[in-house]
Every structure is written in structure tokens, then in C-alpha cells.
Symmetry: C2
Subunit: 305 residues, 2 copies
């Protein structure tokens, strides 16, 4: 089907809406003396990272959020990186901190991620951020998980009582999608590589999320007619002529004839993810601001730079 088929749940328009909302909030905050700023940390040289960072910088610009890139040499130690993060944690001009992945193998990424103060954890990956979602504080979640849920909401389906199946139980995608949707009233099942029959679960899902990294894992006979299918996989596939293309975890060509909605790959969850990062930045700014104002009062604002 052509990409303008209404069954495609495309990320672009959703991302544009979120970025416009963020821009309005960011401009207001800046006028009030709280300019939002994202700091991106890159360790070493990785070409793929450069692509991400350029994209984040461009989108931040559209959203009215300052973007600063700090590039650290590949030989930076974990201690040096942690010290740099502690400095940013204490710097009131820094709203949010992103660690670009991959990092060199000598950097323990989970420990480093946890060194970011939860109030500046715009990627939503700190254990306390994850725990807060479990406690139904849903406004700051890991970006890909939140983007996937945002796309499901775009269908207009009522989440209360919705039968949801999540294939993939990673800590920052599958599990947070599950908790986000449990809090919205859905009945959620999480499947993974040890599940006896993924198909048996997938077939009864009103909404099916797939995040496992296996090209075309989900076929048409695994999807309930009329379901919404959110494809979070990003896999590189080599064609017979030697060229490569990006495909998801869902066999889109067959599944689109069964599902009522399906996210394309690329162009589905991906574009929304960056917009969620920017929205998380405003959530972080508002929390920092609330703490600041609770501590110092509202009359004594930080001057804009």
C-alpha cells in the first residue's frame, strides 16, 4: 500500500505536534528565566553517533531548546566521565544530560547512566525514573517506550481494558511499555524468547508491540484482524543486489492486510522518539523549577543567559 494509506501510523505528524507543543513551553520558560538546555556527551568517535547527534541538535533547534555537545576522547575513564556528569548535575544551566551510545567497552554504561541526577535524566533510564513509572508517574519515561505508547494513543483506541501484548522484555523498551500501559488500564502480557508460543499471545492482542530485533518475526497469521501493530525493531537487511535497507520486526507487507494500524519502519516510532526526548527535557525543567521555587521562592529567578 502507498505510504499515504490511512492504515499507516506514521511518526512524522505525531513528532511535529509534540515538537510544536515543546516549542511553546520552551519559549515561555525561557521568557521566565529558565532556558532549557540539553547536553549531549559522546565518548570516542563513532560515525553512527554523529548521525544521532546531528538529528537531535536539529530537532532541539526546532523545539527552542539549546543543545550543547561535549565530545570526550575514547580513552576517558569511567571516573572522569562520572566526574563530568556530577559537574553537570550541579550546574543549574544544564536541564538534561544524554549519554550517546555506544560508549567504549571500558565504560560501564548502566552505572554511568545512574550517575545522572534523576531530575536531569531526560532519557528516562535512571532506576528511579523507571520506578516512578511503576508508581504511576508517567510523564517521564524512556524515550522509545513513550514514543511507542504515543503512537498507540494516536489510533484513538480506548486503553482501558485493551488487550495488549508486548514482544520483547528489555529494560528500556518492552518493560516500560508494559508499565505505562498497565497504568493506563490495559491488560498487558509480556512475551520474550522463552515464551512457549508468542503467536498464541500475539493473535489475541488488540495492540501488539514488537521490540526484539528480528526482521519479519511477526507474520500476518500472528495478528488479530483489526489490531494496532507498533513495530519498534530496526534491522539492517541486505538485498540480493548487495544494497541494504532498514526493516522492522514485523512483516509489514503481509501484516498490513490484517491490522487496522501499523507503524512503518523507518518513519514510525523513530521520529517520535527524538520528540519525546525534547518533551522529557521540559518535564525535567519543570521539576527542577518546582524544586528551585520550593527552595528559594518564585520571586528570585535565575537570570536568562
Amino acid at each position: 500500500m502507498p505510504l499515504d494509506d490511512t492504515r499507516y501510523l506514521k511518526g512524522g505528524p505525531v513528532a511535529a505536534r509534540i515538537i510544536a507543543e515543546v516549542r511553546a513551553a520552551a519559549e515561555k520558560a525561557r521568557e521566565e528565566g529558565f532556558p532549557p538546555k540539553l547536553v549531549s556527551i559522546t565518548v570516542g568517535d563513532v560515525d553512527a553517533v554523529d548521525v544521532y547527534v546531528r538529528n537531535q541538535r536539529a530537532k532541539a533547534g526546532k523545539a527552542g531548546i539549546d543543545f550543547e555537545e561535549r565530545r570526550l576522547p575514547a580513552e576517558t575513564t569511567a571516573g572522569e566521565l562520572e566526574a563530568a556528569i556530577h559537574g553537570m548535575n550541579a550546574d543549574p544551566r544544564v536541564t538534561g544530560i544524554i549519554i550517546q551510545r555506544p560508549v567504549p567497552v571500558h565504560i560501564p554504561i548502566k552505572a554511568i547512566q545512574a550517575a545522572i541526577h534523576p531530575l536531569k535524566d531526560v532519557e528516562g533510564m535512571h532506576p528511579a525514573s523507571i520506578g516512578n513509572i511503576v508508581y504511576n508517574q508517567l510523564d517521564l519515561a524512556p524515550c522509545t517506550a513513550a514514543a511507542s505508547v504515543e503512537l498507540l494513543k494516536e489510533t484513538g483506541m480506548d486503553l482501558k481494558g485493551l488487550e495488549v501484548v508486548v514482544v520483547g522484555h528489555s529494560e528500556i523498551v518492552g518493560k516500560p511499555i508494559a508499565f505505562l500501559l498497565m497504568s493506563e488500564g490495559a491488560t498487558v502480557t509480556v512475551c520474550h524468547h522463552m515464551t512457549r508460543s508468542v503467536a498464541a499471545h500475539a493473535r489475541r492482542a488488540d495492540a501488539l508491540f514488537v521490540a526484539v530485533g528480528k526482521p519479519r518475526l511477526i507474520k500476518a497469521d500472528m495478528v488479530k484482524p483489526g489490531a494496532a501493530v507498533i513495530d519498534i525493531g530496526i534491522n539492517s537487511e541486505t538485498l540480493p543486489d548487495g544494497s541494504t535497507r532498514i526493516v522492522g520486526d514485523v512483516d509489514t507487507d503481509s501484516v498490513k492486510e490484517v491490522a487496522s494500524w501499523i507503524t512503518p519502519v523507518p518513519g514510525g516510532v523513530g521520529p517520535v522518539t527524538v520528540s519525546i526526548l525534547l518533551r522529557n527535557t521540559m518535564v525535567a525543567l519543570n521539576r527542577q523549577r518546582a524544586l528551585y521555587e520550593a527552595t528559594y521562592g518564585t520571586s528570585n529567578r535565575i537570570a536568562a543567559e
Copy 2:
């Protein structure tokens, strides 16, 4: 069936085993200069709390863990309580802190719970503790959730690929059970009051956990033959003669004819819960000790009191 029927998954023997394990670890830690100590905080006078505290004190004694009770008057403010907790967070003689519930209505219990340092959070309720479980660090979980999972393990069932249904999606019972079991390889579905058909899910469960607080919600026709049923409900029921008794969320008399294992209420999850609190205390002690030794070295130990 009589209570010595092997289909009953009784909490007593499991609790006794855990307490014996804790006692061995506690004695060793004490000899090495790290005596474990639990501090219980009670705000106001509540008879039900006294029963809990007496039980915790008795079990702590059996496990070789010091137990100190701090009783604060009912008019204690949230700020005063938080200050008391900060003092205990900084006191190296305090291993773990328990806030006894209920607290007076003017105390925001979630905020107070989050004031306990994660390293001393023996109840496993701090958002960071919950987040750590999501990140597969499973040794410190909310006590009731961990006790329920412990009882399932007692059946010897292989958790990998096991079809688990959890009825009830509370933050400190249903959801943590779900991600503890996801991390062990089970396929988990969480149902709740918005689920279209709890029965349809419950009937396909190899292991069924119920924590909703509705007496006899789960009947025999909602249980798969041969399943393990873990009943976490504690409900008070008034009999025709005016006396009361405690019943769970499962209609035990009918379900026991279908299930292969069922936890009695009382005498199932309850006794195990306190033993998990004590085990959590040793996990907390070991984490504090690891931090202490990483900071000061292993030769410079705190003297035993």
C-alpha cells in the same frame, strides 16, 4: 482437605528456612564488625501496628538482627519525620528502616518512603529499588511480592516459559511480582479491575497470583487444572454467628480440588513476608558494607557496639 495435605503451599517451613539462612549471615556479619539493625518507625497509636511490630521484633530476634522501635507521637509533622529518617540514613549503626503503616493522614507516605536512602530501603519500596528490579537486580524487592515468588519457587516448577497471570496491579505487590517473574523467564500477564475477562486469563495460567482484596474472587472454574495458586489477599469475613475470620482472594475450598498447589490464608504468604524483610536487611547490610569497603578499604572496620 487437612492442612497437612501436600497440595497446601505453607509459608511456615519456607519462612523458617529463610530465617535460618539470615541468622547464619547475620552472625557472621556481626563477628566481622557489621551488626545488622532494623529500626521500626511508628507514628501515632494503632493497635494493628503493635501486632505487626511485635511479630517483626520476635522474628528479627530469631534471625540474629537487632530491632529498635521508635514511636513518634500522632502529631509528628511530615518534616519532623523526614528529618528523623535523614538522621537514620546517615547513622552507620542503622542497617534498615521500616515505616509501619498506616500513618496518620497528614503524612504523605509515598514521599516519606522515598526519603529512606535506597541502601537502607529494606521494604524495597523506594522508586530506585523498584527500578533496580526492572533492571534485573532481583535480590531486594518489596517483601510481599518477593514472598509470593518464593512460594512459587517452592513448587519446583521451571519458571522459564511458565505462563503466569497476576490479578491485581498494585505498585508494591502485583507489578513487582510481574517483573520479578519476567526476569526469571516467565511469560507474565497482569490483570486488574479494568480487564475484560479475568477468568479467560486466569484459566490459562500455570501459576496464578491474586492480590486484589476481594474475598473468594477466584473460583474453581477460573483455575487451570494442575496450576499453582498463590493467594495474597487478606480479608476479614463476618460469619453468621457474628464472629470474624481471615480469608484470601481465592475460594480455597473449591480451588484446592483443581489446583496442584495453593497457599492457605492465613499461613501462606504472610509468614514468608516477614522473613523476606529480614533477608532484605542482610542484602542492605551487604550493599552498605561493599560501599564502605570500597570507600575506606577492608582493614578499617566499624567496631561492633
